[in-house]
């Protein structure tokens, strides 16, 4: 995949949007298996209802994994120094998620170049599922 040219990246530059297939029960079953997160709130409708929810909800870490894909699609993973998110609403079955990100800060001195991105995952109605940050650090030789 084509990586960003870190020499020309500037504040305001965006990473390409990543829009996912709608979340299905199969998506959640697969993620439960792959991640080992078998919390029934994500895979068992009866349990979700007993917990006061209308349906199962997606794993927050699945949504963060999608956002990670949006990052590594354009940024070499090994230069990502920090990746953090704050979950703001539950992701439901049928939601179509879009991951986006924008450069908000750039530090460029003799030893170091660092880039900070603001990140968001929203559904097709514009409801925010999470917001986050990534910090990229490039050492200068």
């Amino acid at each position: 995949m084509e990586n960003w040219n870190y020499n020309t990246v500037k504040v305001g530059d965006r990473i390409p949007h990543l829009t996912l297939e709608p979340i299905s029960r199969t998506t959640l079953a697969l993620y439960a298996g792959a991640s080992g997160d078998h919390n029934p709130i994500h895979i068992d409708l009866d349990f979700a209802k007993k917990s006061g929810l209308p349906d199962v909800i997606a794993h927050g870490m699945l949504v963060m994994a999608y956002l990670g894909r949006a990052l590594t699609n354009i940024i070499q993973q090994t230069v990502i120094q920090e990746f953090s998110v704050q979950f703001s609403s539950m992701t439901q079955i049928g939601d179509t998620l879009t991951c986006s990100g924008v450069v908000i800060e750039q530090i460029n001195n003799d030893e170091l170049k660092s880039i900070t991105l603001d990140l968001v995952v929203s559904d097709s109605k514009g409801d925010k599922k999470l917001s986050g940050h990534a910090i990229i650090k490039l050492k200068k030789s």
Binding site: M1, A34, G36, K50, M61, M64, R69, T72, Q81, F83
Partner: protein, 145 residues
């Protein structure tokens, strides 16, 4: 009210072998399209020793402990009342298929908001590889409603 005496409680280390099949399954489950994460020949061609573990893969390590939800018992929380509020990773070195990762976790903090109706528990985890090199640190904040 959560038992704040448990702040600082450490959990037994978890040793996790990063297997190719697990990375491929994780790639499939997250809809990964970059072959770096599921095609070993491609990863090697790109200069990596094997398949690269993606940024959030370390979440699987904590699920492989003998009792991944022991903390629910310790804190007397029902699983259905729990949501993930925040997650942070800082990275020191890449994790590849074939690595053996050791995770050490503790309850780092607890606090509440909205006059105690929302209670937060923060777990901090440190990950090392088989060479004893630090690979990552994670902080997970859960909210109990």
């Amino acid at each position: 009210m959560l038992n704040r005496a448990l702040i600082g409680k450490k959990y037994p280390p978890v040793v996790f072998n990063v297997e190719k099949q697990r990375l491929k399954f994780f790639a499939k489950a997250t809809g990964q399209t970059d072959p770096l994460y599921f095609d070993e020949a491609y990863a090697v061609d790109q200069g990596h020793p094997s398949l690269l573990a993606p940024p959030t893969f370390l979440t699987t390590v904590s699920m492989e402990q003998e009792k991944p939800y022991q903390y629910l018992e310790d804190l007397n929380i029902k699983m259905g009342r729990l949501l993930h509020a925040r997650q942070m990773y800082s990275y020191h070195a890449p994790v590849y298929a074939g690595d053996t990762i050791t995770m050490e976790s503790k309850i780092a903090d607890m606090y509440d908001k909205k006059e105690g109706t929302l209670q937060f528990v923060v777990f901090e985890s440190h990950f090392k590889n088989q060479k004893q090199n630090k690979v990552a640190k994670a902080s997970s904040t859960l909210v109990v409603q």
